[in-house]
């Protein structure tokens, strides 16, 4: 198709050594900026599945990628870190460079790009696979609605625009970490070292230290699928945000909120006592039979099992954490997309506003 990804390739090489250790090492992520055992370069140690520890040694641009991955070169570096006495087996090693880049648009007619084919980031912060899964979550429900004839194909353009925005945010965070880890100029190195020095006794400097921020889902603030707020809300759950989780009770058993949503549009009703007016019950029933189905969940601090029959699903928010995280009061209503992003919210319910918001979130308005 003659398409390419554009961006920045970092002139640096890193050695990955995956080792199996007999020692009982705590499951912590360690990042060294300029350690005595690998002077002038950074080292990262973190745990992988199956008792494997991954060690990343920064080598610099001039390192020879073929020579550096030979076991006789790798083993002394690992020993310098773990100590001569620590027993380990070298499972796998490789030398890599990385780039931050993306395709200009993720949709080209019937061809949709996702994951590594659409964007690449540096490996600091669990950004690669996470963003690929987020692409898939964003695309799956849109593709389904379009294929079923329930939404126009313009909905697929919003896959591209939302995930391009998310990729830019991901690349920005990744680039900032990379610039801190590998300063590109003398003055940048001086500020980096000053930050590390102050971090010993100044809390603010510890915030500035950037060895890779753990990836969080992008808040799709500019998405055309969001219905802008018309009521006042505080907190992070603005339209476009990925829904936060909270411990809740379902059928009297402890569970998690996010497990209750995520395969269709869901309308979340916060209540004082799980009671809904007859008109609201009628609307909920209509929403469940609409062309684009909307499931409903009622949230209350206490659920009375006797009244559970024949109504929408019930979630018990015993500790009030769900309501707190969503800045919800009794009568607050949230509309959540199938990919668990918030797309609309109100301080009171009317069926019409939910129908309009679903139409907007599916390009049907």
């Amino acid at each position: 198709m003659g398409l390419e990804s554009k961006g920045r390739t970092f002139r640096d090489r890193f050695l990955i050594a995956d080792v199996k250790m007999k020692a009982d090492f705590p499951t912590e992520r360690w990042f060294w900026f300029d350690p005595p055992f690998h002077p002038g370069q950074s080292v990262l140690l973190h745990r992988q599945p199956d008792n494997i520890w991954r060690i990343d040694f920064q080598l610099g641009w001039d390192a020879d990628p073929v020579v550096e991955r030979q076991p006789e070169r790798v083993i002394p570096r690992v020993k310098a870190l773990l100590g001569e006495q620590t027993e380990f087996e070298l499972e796998w090693c490789s030398v890599y460079t990385f780039s931050c880049l993306r395709m200009e648009t993720f949709r080209h007619g019937r061809v949709l790009f996702a994951g590594d084919s659409a964007h690449g980031v540096s490996p600091f912060g669990a950004r690669g696979a996470n963003s690929g899964v987020q692409d898939a979550e964003n695309l799956a429900w849109k593709l389904k609605l379009v294929l079923e004839g329930k939404a126009p194909e313009q909905l697929l353009d919003t896959y591209a625009s939302e995930r391009e925005y998310a990729a830019d945010e991901n690349i920005l965070n990744s680039t900032r970490a990379t610039d801190f880890i590998t300063p590109k100029s003398e003055i940048s190195r001086i500020f980096r070292d000053a930050t590390l020095d102050l971090a010993k006794d100044c809390a603010f400097a510890r915030r500035l230290v950037n060895s890779g921020r753990l990836s969080v889902p992008a808040t799709l603030v500019h998405s055309p699928l969001n219905t802008p707020d018309c009521d006042d809300f505080a907190g992070a759950m603005a339209p476009g945000a990925a829904a936060l989780d909270a411990p809740v009770f379902v059928d009297g058993k402890p569970d998690w909120f996010l497990r209750q949503i995520g395969d269709r549009f869901t309308c979340l009703f916060f209540t004082k006592d799980q009671m809904l007016s007859p008109q609201t019950r009628e609307s909920i029933s209509a929403l469940s039979r609409a062309n684009v189905e909307v499931a409903s969940i009622v949230v209350a601090p206490r659920i009375h099992p006797a009244s559970q029959a024949n109504g929408p699903r019930l979630i018990e928010d015993r500790d009030g954490l769900l309501a707190e995280r969503f800045d919800a009061a009794p009568d607050t209503v949230y509309l959540i997309r199938p990919d668990q992003h918030v797309c609309a919210r109100w301080r009171s319910f009317t069926g019409e506003r939910v129908i309009d918001a679903v139409a907007r979130a599916t390009c049907n308005s």
């Binding site: 801190f180 100029s185 003055i187 102050l198 006794d201 100044c202 809390a203 603010f204 915030r207 500035l208």
Partner: protein
């Protein structure tokens, strides 16, 4: 002995910047394309501007002492 060291601490070293990654990026960006001498002059002007904004001699003295302590 600096004055700051014997007084109760007034210098705030707790996190006080909301967008710390963005701040740091702008700080480094401020120096882009400058040679060392220019960077030093830019840093000096920045310190003077911020010192005037802070305007509290005890705070500034304490900050100077902490900055100097590892030199």
């Amino acid at each position: 002995m600096t004055k700051g060291a014997s007084m109760p601490a007034k210098l705030n070293t707790e996190p006080n910047i909301g967008f710390y990654d963005e701040f740091y990026e702008r700080l480094i960006e401020m120096h882009r394309g400058l040679v060392d001498e220019q960077s030093q002059a830019v840093n000096a002007r920045l310190i003077l501007l911020l010192a005037n904004h802070i305007g509290d001699l005890d705070v500034l003295t304490e900050a100077m002492a902490r900055a100097r302590s590892d030199a």
